[in-house]
Symmetry: C3
Subunit: 355 residues, 3 copies
């Protein structure tokens, strides 16, 4: 049961070449992506109506894609417009297409009811061409259910344990600081969750220590986690003592370091996930962007190892249940939201769809 | 559900060594083949009655095969004739054997009711020792259902799309010529299908162009597709204008090039297929035989890639149905024949067999 | 259905490092092993109660193990004693632990009812530190059900066929001698089976021939096979004619060669088995121990190849049944014992356990 009425990130714009089709499975749907002659992205089922050859083995011809098994050709609306050896082509020979929008350097797909696909609901995001932040985009694939990755992002307390080799947070001091943080969790109107974390007089992470003149700072970390799995993480370091001057001071003070990370969790199917991320410092420190990417890659590889191990244990524990702890507040709220939406969609399908 | 009352090609004669057993699975039956002292081929279940060790790990001893786990020995009739540490051997200790005939350079096996196995029903075929044609035999394995390969062979319109790297048929001109061909489809008495294709003034394929003085010819292509998956493809090139002189002229005219291809589709199981092929020019142009083989191999690798991709899409589309088009006439007729035979066999088993 | 009320060999003592946890699956239970600060071995479920991360990816801290996903820490009794960001820790947050005993250079685990785990039932065994025998320990993994390995060990007649490359027993002479052996099978009180084999005037195996002055001897081979899969094999070579002087002579005579092999068959799950073995000559011939190990390793690789092939045939033969022969007397008796114990345990679970 995967949510369909939502914008999933399908890929970075650069993932989709201009002349050859690309295959990608999203939320269980095997899809083919190609660009028509004007560069616009088209996405449809990756299955020719005739004998089920994958269209991703096909050939792009102008605005159309031709199946390279027996030569059926489909337009960007999914309707077949040429069949070799046949003059009449029934318009019932067609494959399903889906709304797709390119924005923020990424492509966003809507797999649900077409009339509900509204472009203004494409989430905020900062991609490779953003001018405020120096972002480098990347992606990895995990053999784990997408909800485990959402959980992971919604509870950053794992940083002290999982990311001891990357974010340098493995030492007891960092763990203690992190657990001392003041945490505020807010439910957002669109079903998402905002988590704010304030850490006074905390240790500047080793990976930026060389670039700054101080080793301690006040940290403000804001993360927003949006349906179906959009994660926006903003970290700001302020001079020591800023937080003691009250909330107003925080609004006025200038951080001496700011970094942003935009991440998207897209289910491939119930057992695999594509994890997109772009991260970097603000443009003023743009030289550091490769440096940020390297640390991010190492960290996300640590997450992948843990989540894939976790998934294997879950697979062999069909009747066991998670224990819910204080640290799980945000992830529990997000899971509840997702489950509610999925249940509502399920009821909708049960009442409106045949069979 | 796979057909059993038919002669399947089990292998080329040279696939079966003279001193060591060979294991091969055909239509779901795991079998062991070995040659008795006079060279005759024997085939039986690949499973010792005792503890189910595979007999294909056994040792040929004269006319017998000995299981190399605990030493039981079986004769070519499948009956156990020696058990270590036991003087009395019950003749109930036996493994099932199957009729097998070596003909046309190949071995043909009958998995169904033994009393219906008639050697005159072994299909016509030309193998490596044929004197009229210079044939080179080969085989590949496909991870796809055998019916997809039968479909493929029964609709040669795929040549223009799948075989653009091998038969050089990818250009529009060839595709157009092919679709202009006059096609005659005839149902044969034994359940097979004959497809005749006449192409007037067509392009001589690039791969033989160097050997001929002309670049255009009248083509007569006859393919016969027999139960359970025997494909005989005869291609003849005549001087331009031959066809215009009527059917009688065709009978009398001498082609300036003739080639023959004999192929056998043998299911390993419902999801895998062994594909045997021999192909070559007539003996007069015997020097070209390796050349033909190379092109054939490239072409069949293209088929394999497409069919395996097609099988994967079918696997994930349990409820979807193929669209049937004009080009599918022959394959639909053949599938109908096969399904009828399989249904009849199923009814037979249901009424006569216990359990 | 695997037996639980028994001591399984979990590993050699040296398999369990002093500072890092080890994961191992035994009889379907995924387990984590670690040593507490005093070196004592602890074993528990390899699954953190919180989000099911495997504890084997965790960190040993003194007597405890910490999950390295979110930092929960568990004591050697399986009870959670620290949760980051929480002051109160419910003692319901716990993982299951199991009795474990280190003896004979190995670790023995009890997966069943804890109150029935009695240390005096740990089987006799000779491991690497035994003073009477020069034993070298090793282990392999087989993709086959453990009962097939028990069968294999309980019917040594396979030696003449399977071990022709290792024990040099492939020649007809050895096979004949082996089948001429006088075999006595005795059921033991604890459910095991003892097989004694006397071979008069038999060939000294080629692999020790160079070390002895004679090529023929009287052989006494005693094997004991204990629940759940403990195999103790004692081979003694006596001067020719010793057996003719009666049972008393055998008791008094000094063998000129003695070797011992202790083996343990531990099911990983229904389809995979861990096979532990230690083997060697008596201490007086300790120099030969590596030599024995090399032959043993080659022999057990031969067994593995045969058993994995056998398992594959069994998998595809769901309805077929083994034929039972004279040679299967001991293995049939042992299987009957095991099945009786498993049935009794199953009844117990059905009546006492909820759901």
């Amino acid at each position: 049961m995967l949510l369909r009425n939502c914008w999933y990130m399908a890929g970075w714009q650069s993932d989709f070449a201009s002349t050859t089709p690309t295959s990608r499975t999203i939320a269980g749907e095997a899809l083919v992506f190609y660009r028509r002659s004007n560069g616009e992205l088209v996405v449809m089922e990756d299955r020719c109506s005739h004998r089920f050859a994958p269209l991703s083995r096909g050939r792009v011809e102008g605005d159309d894609i031709r199946c390279m098994y027996h030569g059926l050709k489909f337009g960007p609306d999914g309707v077949c417009n040429h069949i070799p050896q046949q003059s009449y082509v029934s318009n019932r020979i067609r494959v399903r297409t889906f709304p797709i929008i390119e924005r923020h350097g990424a492509a966003w797909i809507w797999l649900g009811e077409t009339n509900k696909a509204q472009s203004e609901h494409v989430p905020h995001f900062a991609g490779p061409s953003n001018y405020e932040w120096s972002m480098v985009p990347d992606q990895i694939e995990l053999q784990a259910n997408y909800a485990l990755l959402n959980d992971n992002l919604l509870d950053l307390s794992h940083v002290a344990f999982v990311h001891r080799e990357s974010f340098g947070a493995g030492d007891e001091a960092s763990a203690t600081e992190f657990s001392r943080a003041e945490v505020t969790t807010t439910s957002l109107a669109n079903g998402g969750v905002r988590v704010e974390r304030r850490m006074r007089n905390a240790t500047v992470p080793p990976y930026v220590r060389d670039y700054l003149e101080t080793k301690r700072a006040d940290f403000y970390v804001k993360s927003e986690h949006l349906i179906p799995g959009i994660f926006l993480l903003n970290t700001r370091c302020y001079p020591l003592g800023t937080f003691d001057q009250g909330e107003e001071a925080l609004s006025c003070a200038t951080p001496f370091l700011a970094e942003f990370s935009c991440q998207a969790v897209t289910p491939i199917n119930e057992r695999a996930t594509r994890y997109f991320f772009a991260l970097g410092p603000w443009s003023a420190l743009g030289d550091l962007k490769q440096f940020y990417l390297d640390i991010g890659r190492r960290a996300f590889a640590e997450d992948r190892a843990m989540l894939e191990a976790q998934q294997e244990v879950i697979d062999r524990s069909p009747n066991a249940r998670f224990a819910n702890l204080t640290m799980d507040k945000a992830s529990a709220a997000f899971r509840a939201q997702m489950n509610k939406l999925i249940r509502e969609e399920g009821a909708l399908h049960a009442s409106y769809e045949p069979g």
